[in-house]
């Protein structure tokens, strides 16, 4: 029996369906992320678990109890908001102790627990401060401590780090994860940042337009995306639109530029298809004759530590190719707006089956 179970959950707001067919079974202590683009229903699902919204249909069970229509203050669920939502009129200690005070715990017990949590979130001497006297990162730690103080059954976090700047974001997310592990609390984490979801979670739920696209471990999601959406949203698998020139000879065009595959594929000439291309297959520079080349404008160069990720736009509003380059001191990187050529081998691209795009990119990738 799973600890947190959502069964066939659906939520409609008037005519719009925010969430549908949502099924999830999370084990106790599991860290699950909801990942998806803006408006895909992540927050709505989270709010249904918290009790702020009620599903139009379906059930939500926590620890084998049906809580679908239970009011939020009876659910024993901790919530961390993007905007911190600390009570401005209370000190940090009072904020953290609020849940315990509501539960009428004795004063000395509250004090002890508050001190404990301040220690856990690394703010041992900030108890007497007011929220406005803390930095954003500190405030979010307090919010985390506050959500954990009353030992909730489930911890919910809705993009808790997106109001913080990049460096704190990375540090704090590891901290959140280690605290979560330490306390063994079942956690649902909402984010639209794939790196965050992949690096933190036991399992990731990728969502799109109110539906679950795929549920799996970060490894599965990244390496074996089961739908074209997951493939393009998660990881940096390039999914490029192409047009068949001569399928039997493996010829097609991508953004008007000729590409030749090492094998034949199906499709009549002029047909629009999609091609998947892993970033690690793509290299900078034109290379030798016989390899495939694409030329475009450098749209973005971002350092990710040991690698540098480059985005190349093929044409004005055309597709982009993402490629990773190892960061070496001798490396001469293209500048933003430069025209650059990249190359990839003939057996690099995978043609996605247009009729069943959802089917298995997985098989194709395994094949490659």
């Amino acid at each position: 029996m799973s600890f947190l179970e959502l069964t066939d959950v659906q939520k409609r707001f008037g005519d719009t369906t925010a969430v549908e067919g949502f099924n999830l079974a999370a084990e106790k202590g599991e860290f699950v992320s909801f990942l998806g683009p803006s408006g895909c229903g992540k927050t709505t699902t989270l709010r249904m678990i918290a009790g702020f919204e009620q599903p139009t249909s379906g059930t939500i069970r926590i620890n084998d109890e049906d809580v679908t229509y239970r009011s939020p203050n009876k659910r024993n669920v901790g919530m961390v908001f993007q905007s911190y939502a600390l009570f401005p009129n209370m000190t940090v200690a009072d904020n953290i102790g609020f849940g315990l005070k509501v539960r009428k715990r004795p004063k000395d017990q509250i004090k002890k627990r508050v001190a404990e949590l301040l220690e856990i979130v690394n703010l041992p001497d900030k108890g007497a401060r007011y929220p406005y006297q803390l930095s954003g990162g500190q405030q979010q730690r307090v919010a985390l401590a506050r959500a954990l103080a009353f030992e909730p059954q489930v911890l919910l976090l809705d993009e808790p780090l997106s109001a913080l700047d990049a460096k704190i974001r990375v540090a704090l997310r590891h901290e959140i994860r280690s605290i979560q592990r330490q306390l063994g609390i079942t956690t649902v984490y909402v984010t639209h940042d794939q790196e965050e979801a992949l690096s933190l979670s036991d399992r990731v739920v990728v969502m799109s337009e109110g539906r679950m696209e795929q549920v799996g471990t970060p490894f599965e999601i990244y390496n074996f995306p089961s739908t074209a959406f997951v493939a393009s949203f998660v990881g940096t698998l390039n999914v490029l639109p192409g047009v068949v020139v001569d399928a039997s000879r493996g010829e097609l065009t991508i953004a008007g530029q000729p590409v030749r595959l090492g094998h034949a594929f199906e499709g009549s000439a002029g047909r629009e298809i999609r091609v998947a291309l892993r970033p690690e297959m793509v290299q900078l520079g034109p290379g030798e004759n016989g390899t495939n080349r694409l030329t475009g404008k450098v749209g973005d160069v971002s350092f990710l530590g040991s690698i540098v990720r480059i985005r190349l736009a093929l044409g004005e509003s055309g597709p982009t190719v993402v490629l990773d380059v190892f960061n070496e001191p001798t490396l001469r990187l293209p500048q933003l707006g430069d025209t650059a050529t990249v190359r990839f081998p003939q057996d690099g691209p995978l043609v996605l089956d247009p009729k069943a795009p959802v089917e298995s990119v997985e098989a194709l990738i395994a094949e490659a």
């Binding site: 009790g51 203050n73 901790g78 600390l86 401005p88 609020f98």
Partner: protein, 262 residues
């Protein structure tokens, strides 16, 4: 730069004069009696109606504030939280006292409550209830606006949800989270209400209440110097009340801020 400074000082001084000159004139006039200060001693020590009516109005004012807060705060809170589309409607309803003259309100009350099912005009107690009820209505425009702007300044919805997720019910949310965070707004609403109630004339005299407004009017008709003295006294009292509210409004937050800035 320099010129604009001079200009702002000129404006400031003009403003001060505009407020202080009439006050000074009143003060000066109230002291023109043969024996100085006799107008004041007359009012303060020889006229039991002065203190009586002032205390009556103050008590009515305080009760009015409490009732008004109890009605307005939950209403404004709920409208912000759950019925944001109804906000213009509620705002319009609270503005009605500006549209309907107090005379009509007073007449309406007298007619509606003269007989069954709720005969309130027969007894002093009943009339007191009516006057408080009428003042509560009069306070709506000020109270609603003050409370609503206070609520606007805090993130009502997330704060509520945060408190809810920690197990708090509605009463606790209102008392521990919402009220303290809009305290300054509540105080300004309360102060405006008090000022209106203490000076109110029409309804109090129609309902024959021993209030300060009618007393002041009566005094103005019968005496020469005393009205001026009362004006000065009530002005002083008003300032005292304002000072007290400002003191109350300085919560722990501001104190800490001052300490932190040092």
């Amino acid at each position: 730069m320099k010129l604009s400074r001079i200009f702002s000082w000129v404006i400031f001084i003009l403003g001060v004069l505009y407020f202080l000159l009439p006050l000074y004139a009143t003060l000066e006039f109230s002291l023109r009696t043969k024996v100085p200060f006799v107008a004041y001693t007359n009012v303060l020590f020889k006229d039991p109606q002065f203190a009586g009516s002032l205390i009556y109005s103050a008590i009515v004012g305080v009760i009015t504030i409490l009732v008004s807060l109890l009605i307005i705060v939950p209403t404004a809170y709920w409208v912000r939280l759950r019925l944001p589309r109804l906000r213009p409607v509620v705002e319009f309803v609270t503005l009605l006292p500006f549209v309907i003259p107090p005379v009509i309100l007073a007449f309406g009350l007298l007619r509606a409550y003269a007989g069954p099912p709720l005969p309130l005009t027969g007894t002093d107690f009943g009339l007191n209830i009516l006057v408080v009820a009428a003042y509560v209505v009069l306070s709506f425009p000020y109270m609603y606006r003050a409370v609503d702007s206070g609520l606007q300044a805090i993130n009502v919805r997330t704060l509520t949800e945060a408190a809810q997720s920690m197990g708090a019910g509605w009463t606790r949310i209102l008392i521990s989270v919402i009220f303290p965070n809009i305290r300054v707004a509540l105080l300004s609403g309360a102060f405006l209400t008090l000022a209106i109630v203490i000076g109110e004339y029409t309804i109090a005299s129609f309902l024959v209440r021993p209030a300060f407004g009618p007393y002041l009017a009566l005094l103005g008709r019968d005496k020469a110097f005393e009205p001026a003295a009362v004006t000065i006294i009530s002005f002083g009292l008003t300032w005292m009340a304002m000072g007290m509210i400002a003191l109350l409004g300085r919560g722990s937050r501001q104190r800490v801020q001052v300490a932190g800035a040092r």
